[in-house]
Amino acid sequence: MKADTEIDLKVKIGGCILRNPVMTASGTFGYGREFEDFIDLTRLGAVVVKGISLLPRAGNPPPRVVETPCGMLNAIGLENVGVEAFVQDKLPWLQRTGATVVVNILGNTVDEYAELAQRLDNVEGVAAVEVNISCPNVKEGGVAFGTDPAMAAAVTGAVRRACKLPLIIKLSPNVTDIQLMARSVAEAGADAVSLINTLLGMAIDLQSRRPKLANVVGGLSGPAIKPVALRMVWQAAQAVKIPVIGIGGIMTAEDALEFIIAGATAVQVGTANFINPRATDEIINGIVEYLAQHNMRSINELRNTLRT
């Protein structure tokens, strides 16, 4: 394996330059510190923290997670400490490590999203904002923002106006036309899109005849969803000019490389962190190894090279 230094892994997301294309996926990496005993956070492209709301949220009643074939369902219910506690208690430690921090935000209304973005705008140590639009719009009967192009564009526009930070819109896969969604948020001012969030799924306990999740439905993640994620990332990369960040079932460097070949500028590693807390680190090493083997000097030579 050649040393990192010989191969250029840097990628650009909006105005933000990442050391390498390997980020963590929101909700699977806590606030970063949960991994301090396992890996050096400064090696990562970026740490995307657990989704943050204006006020703290306690989350859903248990059971909140259940295993499925090659995957898992979660209905955490967006438990988080709220933006003030995040800025005061969580961010400073992350900032001291020197990690690149992306803050994932969520809201119940367009205004909440905007308020969150504004609150984070001039906070030191925040490199970019990722907007989770897979949340129910309480003003529109609980339909998720991310399943309607107009609502998604409205959130994007509001956040865009509220802050100058690089803006990543995180798309929901539970839609008919992912290209339409990607284009809508790109036109509304997104600097990048990330996808996919979890697929909506369900599991039933046969003995009690109850849902295995207290919330009845939950989000499916892990290797099971990788084929769907890869297809959507490839479609999105063809639909928009802004960078696409690939997410979904990435367990190994091979998986990450497939997303990059399909057109992703960067990737996020989610469920894999639970099973192998060093997964991101190993994936970075594996990417370097592959590029070296294929005599590539830069990750940019690999991106979007799928021969169809």
Binding site: F38, N60, R64, V65, N74, I76, F274, N276
Partner: protein
């Protein structure tokens, strides 16, 4: 400080009744682990089952080895049960907060109560109590199981510490014919504020023990289970409802697995 290791299986004993004891060479965990803490185990390269499985530390040994004691339930434990000596297993640990072992007021009896495979963490706890607490601290062990076959192999380990557990079985094949919480009355009577209880087992059993302790004003620590995806507070999946005194939800992997019974919402 928890770590992630690829550890080697030193031995795998089938104790009968679907219970296995794995001895694992994991020096860092053996050195750092406390009673009531747990590890996440995963075997094999396949992606199904996907998640690691949590197991209490059954024992740590001075020579870098540690043990888990587990019951075979589904595919995850079946895979672990199939591991041969020399095989590798992915392990993360030690994790969570174990039993709190502050010196009790003189005259306090300590009671260890285990139900079914809930006995797993109690041997380590008994050893630590003997090591850390003042000589002469009275220590009782109450164990419950479905039948004699489940319990028998474990009694010898307690006897080696000079402890003779009181036993209850569902089918009466050993000791008291009934449930282990009933042993509380049998062994310690109804009154007195002189007991401190450490309990691990199925939820209804722990709820019954917690309620008896509350009635008597006894301190009671319980080791809870929850579905876990990570084991180190990254997924927030392992929520358990609090009694409202401190938090709406606790996370078993971080705030526990050992809790004060009064902090838990027994539902």
């Amino acid at each position: 400080m928890p770590g992630q290791y690829l550890a080697t299986i030193e031995s795998n004993e089938d104790l009968g009744a679907g219970v296995c004891r794995l001895t694992i060479l994991a020096p860092e965990i053996a050195a750092a682990g406390r009673p009531g803490q747990f590890v996440m185990l995963r075997s094999g390269r396949g992606l199904d089952p996907l998640l690691s499985r949590p197991f209490s530390l059954h024992q740590t040994m001075a020579d870098g080895r540690m043990q888990v004691l587990f019951k075979v339930l589904g595919e995850g434990t079946r895979r672990l049960a199939a591991l041969a000596a020399g095989a590798s297993v992915a392990i993360v640990g030690p994790l969570g907060r174990g039993f709190a072992l502050t010196p009790p007021p003189t005259g306090t009896r300590l009671g260890l109560i285990g139900g079914g495979i809930g006995v797993a963490p109690l041997l380590f706890l008994a050893r630590e109590i003997q090591r850390l607490l003042p000589d002469g601290t009275a220590l009782d062990v109450l164990l419950g199981a479905r039948s004699k076959a489940e319990l028998a192999p474990l009694l010898a380990d307690f006897r080696a510490l000079g402890l003779e557990p009181a036993v209850a079985t569902d089918d009466g094949s050993l000791g008291h014919h009934g449930l282990v919480p009933e042993l509380i009355d049998q062994q310690w009577g109804q009154e007195g504020s002189h007991c401190r209880v450490f309990c691990c087992g199925p939820w209804p059993m722990m709820a019954a023990v917690a309620s008896r302790c509350r009635e008597r004003g006894w301190a009671c620590q319980v080791s809870l289970e929850a579905m876990m995806a990570c084991g180190f507070s990254a997924c927030l999946g392992c929520a358990v409802a609090g009694s409202g005194k401190r938090e709406r939800y606790f996370h078993v992997c971080k705030d526990g697995p050992v809790f004060q019974a009064e902090d838990v919402n027994w539902g």
